[in-house]
Symmetry: C2
Subunit: 207 residues, 2 copies
């Protein structure tokens, strides 16, 4: 069975969501990052920087959310989450990259300078710059997103999952979204697989 190393409200949710969309059996193992469990030898053998998500699937051990989800969709999916057509695939891939490098990084920098970095490394003055950069990335996104149901083609793909997840992260950090992206986020967050995934990570955390 596939094992997902997870932490609630982190990027591991993208992987649990993918696993649920694919209808796969898996177990969640909570890594208590807040108690230093990421930095144990056992976890560093799975993830060289002591983070989540990580999956183990037989002999395969992978870290980084986008590659894990691509691997799962390629290995176990039917081409819906990640199209096999090279052009549609490249378009999903392009948005995944934009989301994790442009849209997410200002949020992650904001989180780092609020709580994730060691206290003596946090620079409060950078927080309004992060907010400005996030709005700039949203504006770039709005040059392509005009209220359509999906980012690429006519089905829900990994690009939609990552965008909905990242927009929810932004909302939890009190960023304002344009109305059509707010609706997009709410619509995709209503997928049953999303709720099941969150429930499973939460249960693992309190086990």
């Amino acid at each position: 069975m596939i094992t997902l190393y997870s932490f609630p409200h982190s990027r591991s949710h993208r992987v649990s969501w993918t696993l649920e969309e694919l209808g796969l059996e898996y177990q969640c193992r909570h890594v208590a990052l807040d108690k230093g469990e990421g930095q144990t030898d056992a976890h560093l053998a799975r993830h060289p920087d002591g983070k989540v998500p990580v999956i183990e699937d037989g002999d395969v051990c992978l870290f980084e959310s986008a590659p894990i989800c691509r691997y799962l969709a390629d290995t176990y999916g039917d081409g819906a989450l990640l199209p096999s057509d090279p052009v549609a695939r490249a378009q999903v891939d392009q948005w995944l990259s934009f989301i994790v490098t442009e849209l997410e990084q200002p949020l992650w920098n904001q989180a780092k300078h609020t709580f994730a970095l060691p206290e003596d490394k946090r620079i409060a003055a950078v927080l309004p710059v992060c907010a400005w950069e996030f709005q700039r990335a949203l504006s770039a996104l709005e040059r392509r997103y005009n209220g359509q149901e999906y980012l690429v083609g006519n089905t829900f793909t990994l690009a939609d999952m990552f965008l909905a997840h990242t927009l929810s992260w932004a909302v939890s950090m009190k960023h304002r979204l344009p109305e059509n992206l707010q609706r997009y986020r709410e619509r995709h967050n209503q997928r049953p697989a999303m709720a099941k995934a969150a429930e499973k990570e939460k249960a693992a955390a309190s086990a």
Copy 2:
């Protein structure tokens, strides 16, 4: 013919290097980002944030370096730069993601707060934190890289290209590399395709 929109010493070099490794015919079109050409309507129609690289390949127009290189390797390659075996492919993919989200982001933040952001958004106090974060990412990399010739398997893949490129970026920003990564970088930078690609971007810039 494939068109690459480029700027010397930027991430477009990863794409020109890939095109040269694949032996493809292509033209470089220089985008004078330093003169505001990225923000023209024509370029914003290609890249929603006005950056490079972008490629046009017939009807296909893509931005973001890693997805472009994956698309080129999948469409025109023989499986060397990007393996077709799902596990080897996922491992290359994992390293690409680590490189662009963990290793490169501190360098990019450093560049942003040195020259790339509008002057009133630059926070000098964040620069030593970027340096600390880069060294932390290098330490994570060193938990997996012990001097082997290639990051994944026994051939040069996109993971090696992106790592060599990002390490060179770090060196140009005066970061110190561990000796084995310095050797790794120098070795891969000697590939003829790398020099040809740099030459072609430079020629486009001075045309």
